[in-house]
């Protein structure tokens, strides 16, 4: 009788390298008033643009004699807008010391390794799915998953990857992804895949009734009725060779 090999139990802990997708916050000024004004105007129209992405303050452009900005305040301002700053990089020793006192990590551009190893000191208000912790060498950016209806005026953006929406995207709502968009419910709003120019991105839905679809900047609206084979039916939208939007039944 052949002996079955017992599967080796997975170790409790594994170490693998990973690249985190994050946002660089490039500081051109350390002045409180200028920063405050710019932050509020920058986020005024789209306060929920970010959904808890990690962020690093890039200080390389600050004048060498710049006074240290109020790091704790700055981090708090960005956190309230969905970014999670956890470190500074290219900071002068004085700036780095102040940042470190405010609980931020100090990184050097030459040694990016700590980015991966560093635990995030900031508590995440909306923890992303734990996918990032599972070893997934091929998918460095976790897919963003939305399970509540997206309502008119709401907008979600999946930076660097795909998005899966399990509830309806209502008219006037907007789903944007750098990768592909999957909507397992009626898609009645706008869907913009390949937002950073990925022409291979696609849009999939189980019920196509969109106001607008776009792939890598090529868009189509639906002023004229959709073909009966795809209207309100499962469909896929992709970009054909001649930069043409193609809509096919699934």
């Amino acid at each position: 009788m052949p002996r079955r090999r017992e599967p080796r139990p997975a170790p409790a802990l594994e170490l693998k390298t990973t690249r985190l997708a994050g946002i660089q916050v490039i500081l051109n000024s350390a002045e409180h008033a200028a920063l405050a004004t710019h932050i509020s105007t920058l986020f005024a129209a789209t306060p929920d643009f970010f959904g808890g992405e990690a962020a690093v303050f890039e200080c390389g452009r600050l004048p060498s004699d710049a006074a240290s900005p109020d790091w704790a305040w700055l981090a708090q301002e960005l956190q309230s807008r969905g970014l999670n700053p956890f470190a500074v990089q290219n900071a002068s020793p004085e700036l780095a010391a102040a940042a470190s006192r405010a609980g931020l990590l100090v990184l050097n551009a030459a040694a990016p390794a700590p980015v991966a190893a560093a635990p995030e000191p900031v508590p995440e208000p909306l923890p992303e799915p734990a996918a990032a912790l599972v070893p997934q060498p091929a998918a460095p950016v976790p897919t963003r998953i939305i399970d509540k209806p997206l309502r008119s005026g709401q907008r979600v953006y999946a930076a660097g990857g795909d998005i899966v929406v399990l509830a309806a995207v209502n008219p006037g709502a907007e789903v944007i992804a750098d990768g592909s968009i999957h909507v397992y419910a009626p898609l009645k709003g706008r869907a913009l895949a390949g937002a950073r120019g990925d022409v291979t991105a696609r849009i999939f839905t189980t019920h196509l009734e969109a106001e607008l679809v776009s792939i890598a900047g090529v868009y189509r609206t639906f002023d004229t009725a959709l073909d009966a084979t795809v209207a309100k039916k499962p469909a896929q939208i992709r970009l054909a060779a001649a930069s043409q939007i193609v809509i096919e039944p699934l």
């Binding site: 929920d48 209806p149 997206l150 008119s152 709401q154 008219p171 006037g172 709502a173």
Partner: protein, 271 residues
């Protein structure tokens, strides 16, 4: 604990104030001590619908700014025993509503033993509407059976889910209810209007009730008596059913099916 109910819609003219007056009256008729607050500062209407416009001395903004106390500003309703109206100011604008001020008034009402506080929201998604929904425990979204109203309701639901205190503090979310008003079963049947199932399919929140289109509503507004008091009219019955459902009872939907008029009815007319 007082429960704060916001009556909102996004779009104007769909029946928020009529609904606020009837829901507040209905809760008071069930024995709950209820206050209804007009958040439409500058476009005061609730006092007219409730028929207390001649008794307004102090208003919501006076209370917020400390010029009067709650006791002076609350107007006791003529038709229901446990009901009090806090009118809006007609001479100010909505910036007079501060978050701290509104919160203090709501807290004070709670301390005075009110069971329900009904907030009649202004139309739109600006400051006044946001103030009316910030402190909500439950929200009744009033929607007419037409696409623009449904889309605006969708928008306001998104705002409730992002700007209410419950959402900001990560507590249990605001409980949402859909109330379809000005519904004509005949026109919905003939495809001239959305049906209530179309609306519910898009908004995806539980249906509290369907209020039929009726001349009784106009009549009630002109008389200054909330529509729920128009005895034996479909509108009043539909609001009474909605109150029952709000309190957890089960009532079948009425006034939503179109019956073709029979031969006799067609021959002899009649309403």
């Amino acid at each position: 604990m007082a429960t704060i109910i916001t009556i909102t819609s996004g779009k104007g003219g769909v029946g928020k104030t009529t609904t606020s007056a009837s829901i507040a009256s209905g809760l008071a008729m069930r024995g709950f001590k209820t206050a209804v607050i007009d958040f439409d500062v500058g476009l005061r209407n609730l006092d007219l619908i409730m028929g207390c416009e001649r008794r307004v001395v102090y208003d919501f903004v006076n209370v917020i700014q400390g010029d009067a106390n709650l006791h002076q500003a609350l107007i006791k309703d003529k038709h229901a025993d446990n009901l009090f109206v806090l009118p809006a100011s007609q001479t100010r604008d909505k910036d007079a509503l501060t978050e701290e001020g509104v919160e203090k008034v709501l807290k004070d009402l709670e301390h005075q033993g009110f069971d329900y506080i009904v907030c009649d929201s202004p139309a739109g998604i600006e400051h006044g509407a946001v103030m009316a929904l910030t402190f909500a425990d439950e929200a009744i979204v009033v929607t007419n059976p037409e696409v623009s109203s449904v889309r605006d309701s969708d928008r306001i639901l998104g705002i409730i889910q992002s700007k209410s205190r419950r959402a900001v503090e990560g507590r249990e979310p605001v409980k949402e209810h859909l109330l379809v008003t000005r519904y004509s079963p005949k026109r919905a049947h003939e495809g001239e209007m959305l049906t209530y199932t179309d609306i519910q399919e898009l908004l995806r929140i539980p249906l509290l009730g369907v209020i039929p289109e009726s001349e009784a509503v106009l009549h009630a507004s002109n008389q200054g008596i909330p529509a729920i008091h128009q005895k034996d009219t479909p509108v009043a019955d539909a609001y009474l059913d909605a109150i029952g459902r709000f309190l957890g009872e089960t009532h079948p939907l009425r006034f939503v099916d179109h019956e073709k008029p029979g031969l006799l009815k067609r021959l002899f007319g009649g309403k």
